[in-house]
């Protein structure tokens, strides 16, 4: 096996960080839904994809101003997410569906979304073409385009505000309470259903921003959803299930690993790298990096 020159390493690291910035947005929402609702929403990537196609519709097809189109896309995706929650997930939960049933429903929804989008828009790749490709800046041996910097900045600002919202706002505290112990939250006067619905809607709003950024930086295609959902799942496992900082850290680790891994492996092994990471974590540290062995000192019956 031939090892490439070390000169490409900085570029691979930059690519890894850009990938991490995009993954972290879907992973944060995926983790939020898991924390409050206790199921793996495999359709989360599909919702992100719907967000990307909505901005394509509003901007490229309807000819709206890009920012107006993005704003509309975020609103519509959030509403759409709320609709999916109320029409699919909540009825199942009310029938006391097991987590496996929820998972299958989510997988079905992911396939349905992909099929619907393919039906409407076709399988060909779409591009937003809002910011044309510009020459990048050379930083420490790597090339980074202004667009990529925008993607990373938007992702960072959004996630930091989200983390502040979760830590300090009264809404964030209610969400954390339900995530911690939904039964206790209920007897503490918190309506867990409302919190679960709003968490889902917030997760969809963040996913739609991810969809827009991915649309700007990469291409839009119907198949993008499931891949992102699986990477989000891997990120949350690596970082620690239900932990927001964990999901973000996991995303960046996976983004870096799959890109830096290309230093020694052919680029076709990208998926294999994070799948191996997922496998190793499930095997060696299933609670993830930020998962704690908490509850040991609690009185358990």
């Amino acid at each position: 096996m031939e090892i490439a020159s070390a000169a490409i390493l900085p570029q691979l690291i930059v690519n890894g960080l850009i990938a991490g910035a995009m993954y972290s947005l879907t992973a944060a929402g995926f983790s939020l839904v898991y924390a409050t609702n206790r199921f793996l929403n495999l359709a989360h990537g599909g919702i992100m994809m719907v967000g990307a196609y909505l901005v394509y519709t509003f901007f490229n097809l309807a000819g709206l101003n890009f920012y107006a189109a993005s704003f509309l896309a975020v609103i519509c995706t959030s509403l759409f997410g709320g609709f999916l929650f109320v029409s699919v997930y909540r009825p199942l939960r009310q029938k006391k569906a097991a987590n496996m049933v929820m998972l299958i429903a989510a997988a079905g929804l992911a396939i349905l979304l992909e099929a619907l989008v393919t039906l409407i828009f076709g399988t060909d790749v779409k591009q937003l073409n809002f910011i044309s490709v510009q020459e990048g800046w050379h930083i420490a041996g790597a090339i980074i385009t202004p667009l990529q910097l925008v993607v990373m900045a938007v992702s960072a600002v959004l996630l930091v505000s989200f983390a502040v919202f979760m830590k300090y706002s009264s809404w964030g505290k209610l969400i954390r309470a339900v995530a911690d112990n939904a039964d206790l939250a209920r007897t503490t006067g918190i309506n867990p259903y409302a919190v679960q619905l709003w968490s889902f809607v917030i997760a969809c709003a963040i996913a739609s921003v991810a969809g827009i950024l991915i649309g700007l930086e990469r291409n839009i295609e119907p198949r993008m959803g499931l891949g992102f959902a699986l990477v989000s799942f891997a990120s949350t496992v690596v970082g620690g299930m239900g932990s927001l900082p964990g999901a973000i850290l996991g995303s960046y680790l996976i983004g870096l690993a799959e890109n830096v891994g290309q230093w020694i492996l052919p680029s076709g092994y990208k998926e294999a790298i994070w799948l191996v990471m997922l496998f190793l974590f499930l095997l060696i540290r299933p609670s993830g990096i930020f998962g704690t062995e908490q509850g040991v000192r609690q009185t358990k019956l």
Partner: protein, 237 residues
């Protein structure tokens, strides 16, 4: 205060409570005792609609609350400390306490109540910033009771607060509950398995055996009844 009439409740296909009647007088401390599996916890859970109620009514201050969603009862004035995982373990002590009053918009009032709770439980102030899961069993119990009091409840339901505590701590907790009842003017209902010491502190007692109230009276009278011997030695278990 709290009135339960002809209550039949249980879980799915398992009926537990049979024709239970109970009435709490305002500002009293009552205790519900009985062997394991008698349905003591089920009775408390039924108040919070966490069981299947097949018939009967539950009234709080004259308002029928049978089948109300659990999350509406705290703001009505009923606080409940369950068994097992009684705190938000990944949140700090202070956050836990503040959640007990999350529905109160007036921030000043919340702050005043917090100070009042800290006066009663200085340990909680000391551990204000600690995550709840790092607390010991007794501290966890204090935190849960403290959080329940943050809503300034008129009725406080406690499910086996002695669980997992050392005997010395149990006495301390009960003395605390008694003091709290007097300071906060709340009506208290405690569920316990078989604790003689509780009979000394409480005003009124109910004995629940196999889903039915078999005896109830003032604690001073109840503790001398022959049935209490069976409860205390575990003959009914």
């Amino acid at each position: 205060m709290l009135k339960i009439t002809n209550l039949n409740a249980g879980y799915a296909d398992l009926p537990v409570l049979k024709e239970v009647n109970l009435e709490l007088q305002p500002a009293t401390m009552s205790v519900l005792m009985g062997p394991n599996g008698a349905g003591k916890s089920t009775l408390l859970k039924s108040v919070f609609n966490l069981t299947n109620i097949t018939s009967g009514q539950i009234y709080f201050e004259g308002v029928e609350i049978t089948g109300w969603p659990a999350h509406k009862l705290l703001s009505l004035g009923i606080a409940y400390v369950a068994q097992g995982k009684i705190n938000f373990s990944s949140m700090t002590v202070r956050e836990n306490l503040m959640l007990g009053a999350h529905f109160i918009k007036n921030k000043m009032e919340c702050q005043e109540r917090l100070v009042k709770i800290y006066e009663q439980f200085p340990m909680l102030l000391e551990k204000e910033g600690a995550l709840a899961f790092t607390l010991s069993g007794g501290q966890q119990q204090m935190l849960a009771i403290g959080r329940a009091l943050m809503s300034a409840p008129r009725l406080l339901l406690l499910d086996e607060p002695s669980l997992g505590l050392a005997p010395k701590l149990v006495k301390e907790v009960f003395a605390k509950v008694r003091a709290i009842k007097d300071i906060f003017g709340a009506t208290v209902l405690i569920v316990e398995h078989n604790l003689k010491s509780l009979m000394e502190v409480a005003d009124y007692g109910y004995i629940l055996v196999q889903g039915q109230i078999v005896a109830h009276d003032k604690c001073s009278i109840l503790k001398n009844l022959p049935i209490m011997k069976d409860v205390f030695v575990g003959k009914l278990d």
